[in-house]
């Protein structure tokens, strides 16, 4: 493969959308004629039926895509729910959503004592939580999904374990939400104290 084809291959690989010849010419710093020739040579490399990736010319330009023959395997890879072990941040965030739903990001942050955007986004991407309206202040509220129930082997939310069995400060009075927020604020005031290693 020559330099130009290598560059074209890389550019098509990185683009989310089809790329036009003028765009490729500008990026590769070559003339459009050269690009067309380079694409023709690249197309030979990517002849359909030969590899797992094919080079396609579509309405908007050129793009790389997977060969249809590989779709069953691709579906198995992508359709299977991703269930890597939950990180502590994700477990805490998910516990807050599960027990207090619906609940907003600011409230999660207040209870955890730290912004939890990336944990929330990951749980959302994996389909464990979903958006469910907005709070009176306009913040998006989250609740758990059916996939959440399935992955935790629960029939309904009522099957969630009773939190009191893990409750370390039972003498604290108040609703669960209230107590979580109070504990979170106490922690936020001290976790920042660098004395705590």
């Amino acid at each position: 493969m020559r330099d130009l084809e290598r560059t074209l291959e890389a550019l098509l690989f990185l683009s989310n959308d089809p790329v036009t010849v003028p765009e490729l010419a500008e990026a590769a710093a070559r003339g459009e004629g050269e690009i067309v020739e380079g694409l023709a040579r690249l197309r030979e490399e990517y002849a359909e039926g030969f590899r797992g990736i094919v080079l396609r010319e579509v309405a908007g330009g050129f793009t790389l895509a997977t060969d249809p023959s590989t779709e069953p395997a691709a579906r198995r890879l992508l359709a299977k729910p991703r269930t890597p072990p939950l990180t502590p941040a994700q477990a805490e965030t998910l516990a807050i959503v599960a027990y207090l739903q619906p609940v907003s990001r600011p409230e999660i942050a207040r209870i955890r004592g730290v912004a939890s955007d990336s944990a929330t986004s990951t749980l959302h991407d994996r389909g464990l939580i979903e958006e469910h309206g907005r709070s009176q202040f306009g913040a998006i509220l989250y609740r758990t999904t059916d996939l959440f129930l399935r992955l935790f082997g629960l029939n309904t939310l009522a099957d969630l374990p009773d939190a009191t069995q893990w409750d370390p400060t039972p003498e604290e009075e108040g609703e669960l939400r209230d107590r979580l927020v109070r504990a979170g604020e106490a922690r936020a005031g001290q976790a920042e104290q660098p004395a705590a290693t």
Binding site: S15, A79, I96, L147, F152, W166, R179
Partner: protein, 256 residues
């Protein structure tokens, strides 16, 4: 006519803060300014500049400043140390303290070099780019049928229990020293009383005293030296400090 001045009003212009000293204190207590980022030496320099500008020492202001800065120093030294080592550190002998300091310097040095290595690695790697395009929608649909129970509900209960735990309280009482019980003036008169004996040691002067009183006494001693009332000697580092009254000449000068 000297203007009325309190240490709390000392104007500061630091890297992380500009404004009066008492505002800085308030912000530190409210954790809006990180004490670790405040260079306390700069606060002291600002105070010394102020003193130089006034040309005289106001003992009450000096005491107030001393107490506040001592509290900040103590708090900062605590913040710099993990709590479990805190007390050990305070009990260290000078030689051990040097060893501890050395160990920390070596640690810092090791990770500075590791950082350089990581920076070079990142630069060498940044030519590799990864695809970030989302998979085509027709291939990506997490299927409920393929979902199996892989997570333990107890994990959520335990996480919730951790979140309900209140942290152990931290003692910050030493920060609430607002009205010092000890003043430079009181320590000056204490030292002058001792001076009438002609000679005494610093240890005698501060026997059974707390840390703030010791610091204030040292300050008073410096003042005595400046006024020409006393001289002292210390034969070796960390050795005993012997204080002597200075001859009548200085005393007469003072009287004149």
């Amino acid at each position: 006519m000297p203007e009325l001045f309190r240490a709390a009003e000392l104007e500061l212009d630091l890297d992380v803060f500009a404004g009066p000293f008492d505002l800085l204190l308030t912000l530190i207590l409210r954790e809006e300014v990180d004490l670790l980022e405040v260079d306390l030496a700069d606060v002291v320099l600002a105070y010394l500049d102020h003193l130089e500008g006034r040309g005289e020492l106001d003992l009450e202001v000096a005491t107030e400043f001393l107490v506040l800065i001592a509290a900040l120093l103590e708090l900062k030294s605590r913040l710099m140390l993990p709590r479990d080592e805190d007390d050990e550190w305070l009990d260290l002998e000078p030689g051990e303290a040097a060893e501890e300091l050395l160990r920390r310097m070596l640690d810092a040095r090791r990770y500075r070099r590791a950082a350089t290595e990581l920076e070079e690695r990142l630069a060498a790697e940044s030519g590799f780019r990864y695809r970030s395009a989302p998979p085509p929608p027709h291939l990506k649909r997490a299927s409920l049928e393929l979902a199996e129970a892989v997570y333990e509900p107890a994990r959520l209960g335990a996480a919730l229990g951790d979140l309900l735990a209140h942290p152990p309280p931290i003692d910050v009482d030493h920060m609430h020293v607002v009205h010092p019980r000890v003043s430079v003036a009181a320590r000056l008169s204490h030292l002058r009383k001792l001076l009438r004996r002609g000679v005494f040691t610093f240890d005698e002067a501060v026997r059974d005293a707390d840390r703030v009183t010791i610091a204030t006494t040292l300050f008073a001693l410096l003042e005595l030296h400046k006024q020409g009332e006393a001289v002292w000697e210390q034969p070796e580092p960390f050795g005993e400090i012997t204080v002597r009254a200075r001859g009548g000449a200085a005393a007469q000068e003072r009287a004149a």
